[in-house]
């Protein structure tokens, strides 16, 4: 089994609608029932981010996201799947449920 990160990409800048939330709940339940669920969460807007650099002496805090972009990540799933074909199917269902594009990326396995 491998784990994959499914990041939800948002360009509308809005939160999920009630309808989208309901679809996401259904998808989450399916992930749990089928044994693909690891973790999931929604993120607050990029404006709430703080960049922290603690590498040298006193940490430096910078307000705002690391990258300004038109599209940003507003949530994610971590799923477990035997291989990419299954993960792609899950990503397609996830994308449909939250009505947004998702980026599927494997975790390092070794």
């Amino acid at each position: 089994m491998a784990q994959y990160l499914m990041s939800v990409l948002d360009e509308k800048g809005g939160r999920a609608t009630a309808e989208e939330m309901a679809a996401i709940d259904v998808f989450n339940e399916k992930l749990q029932a089928d044994g693909n669920w690891v973790f999931a969460g929604g993120l607050a807007s990029p404006g709430s981010a703080t960049v922290v650099d603690g590498r040298d002496g006193e940490p430096v805090f910078t307000d705002g996201p690391y990258l300004e972009s038109k599209e940003h990540i507003i949530g994610f799933w971590i799923v477990e799947a035997p291989h990419l074909d299954v993960a792609l199917r899950l990503a397609a269902q996830g994308s449909k449920s939250c009505n947004r594009r998702v980026e599927l990326r494997p975790f390092l396995s070794e």
Binding site: P82, L84, V86, A87, R89, P106, S109, E110
Partner: protein, 407 residues
């Protein structure tokens, strides 16, 4: 010596994909499999002229490659602990032939939709076709290092993202098969009418390779009508190759081709495949319809005998499946023969294809036939500007210049 060389080439053609597939399955790693397969063939080149060709070349290659893999993994014990364990679980090499579908797995892996299209093409030629990286780089006029990186990157993604070495999920199968056929058709077209102006207009090495791979895929999926359709389409297109470019490097259109120079053997084989598909009574897909259109064209000794109504009907069938402007453009060429250039021109003038050279070339021909020389000339100019293929451009320039000579 030469004899052994020929045997090795033949064995390479016959056994490469099977060898890579078998090794990938045993070693669980496409990259190592490819490398070991290449090393096994290098040993064959060294050993066979001295020791003679082994009675079962495929088994010899598998055993040799497998031994090398084991040796190598032993040398890398520390880093490759996992692989070593995995290797211990496998039985000694089984004779070739028992797991034919390994090659099909290989094809599906190389044509996986999560890979970039150009990576699918390169991987398929390397892993299934057995072409070397320099050969593939030359075929696509890409610098060797860049092609090597493209393939390496694809292999890394296969590993990191766990693209499976297997037959697709049931619900993915139709899409994945058409993805495989699309890759094969792309290789064929790059050979048949390359978009690159810096190369030979027709590249027999690539068309031959595409046909060879399509034969293999059809053999592996004998019940897939589109695999058969694609093979028929390629054969009927390839049959006209020799007649398609003139001695001076111009494109020769279907009407002007010396039909005596067509390859009768390929035509007969293509026609037989088209007939076999028709006999199934199943609704044909895109490649089968295109093959049928080519079968009509190659059925007559003179273009004037062409059954244009049949061709228009086939394009109608195609347009119902694929209502793209390019299909409608090709249909209009047949309509011009059936209903005249005026009708055809009215149909194509609405098409959103202003950036496509064949659109302007077709318009130019129709305008020419209607005696509208000035407009025809302008259309030829535009077509020449957009044509990437050297033979096509040369043909268009000649047609345009004839026009100015006549007016």
């Amino acid at each position: 010596m030469t004899d052994v060389g020929e045997v090795i080439t033949r064995v390479h053609h016959a056994e490469w994909a099977r060898l890579v597939a078998t090794l990938t399955r045993r070693l669980g790693d496409l990259d190592v499999a490819e490398e070991m397969a290449a090393e096994a063939f290098a040993s064959a080149v060294e050993r066979w002229p001295v020791d003679g060709v082994p009675p079962n070349p495929g088994a010899w290659l598998t055993t040799t490659a497998y031994r090398r893999a084991v040796d190598r993994l032993r040398r890398e014990v520390r880093r490759e602990e996992k692989h070593r364990e995995a290797l211990m679980l496998f039985d000694p090499p089984e004779p070739l032939g028992a797991i034919d579908d390994g090659r099909l797995r290989l094809v599906f892996t190389c044509c996986h939709p999560a890979l970039a299209v150009e990576a699918r093409v390169a991987l398929t030629l390397r892993m299934v076709g057995g072409l070397t990286v320099p050969e593939i780089a030359r075929a696509f006029l890409v610098e060797e290092g860049a092609m090597g990186r493209r393939i390496t990157r694809a292999k890394s993604k296969i590993k990191a993202a766990r693209i499976p070495f297997g037959v697709p999920l049931r619900e993915d199968i139709p899409g994945r098969i058409s993805g495989v056929l699309a890759v094969l058709y792309l290789i064929f077209n790059e050979g048949y009418l390359t978009s690159n102006s810096a190369t030979e207009p027709v590249r027999a090495d690539l068309t031959a390779e595409a046909i060879r791979l399509t034969r293999l895929v059809r053999e592996l999926m004998p019940d897939d009508g589109e695999a058969t359709g694609l093979l028929a389409l390629m054969l009927l297109t390839e049959a006209r190759r020799a007649a398609r470019v003139s001695a001076t490097g111009d494109l020769v259109t279907l009407g002007e081709q010396d039909r005596g120079a067509w390859d009768r053997g390929l035509i007969a084989e293509g026609h037989a495949l088209v007939r076999a598909r028709l006999a199934t009574g199943q609704a044909p897909g895109r490649y089968q319809i295109l093959a049928a259109i080519n079968a009509v064209h190659t059925d007559v000794p003179d273009i004037r005998d062409t059954d244009w109504s049949q061709i228009v009907a086939l394009y109608d069938q195609l347009a119902r499946r694929d209502p793209s402007p390019i299909v409608r453009l090709n249909r209009a060429v047949a309509v011009a023969e059936l209903d005249g250039p005026q009708v055809a021109l009215a149909e194509i003038d609405q098409l959103p294809l202003a950036g496509y050279h064949a659109f302007h070339a077709t318009r130019a021909e129709l305008l020419r036939r209607l005696g509208r020389s000035e407009q025809a000339q302008a259309a030829y100019d535009r077509a020449v500007e957009l044509a990437g293929n050297s033979a096509e451009a040369a043909y268009l320039v000649r047609r345009r210049d004839q026009l100015s000579g006549a007016s």
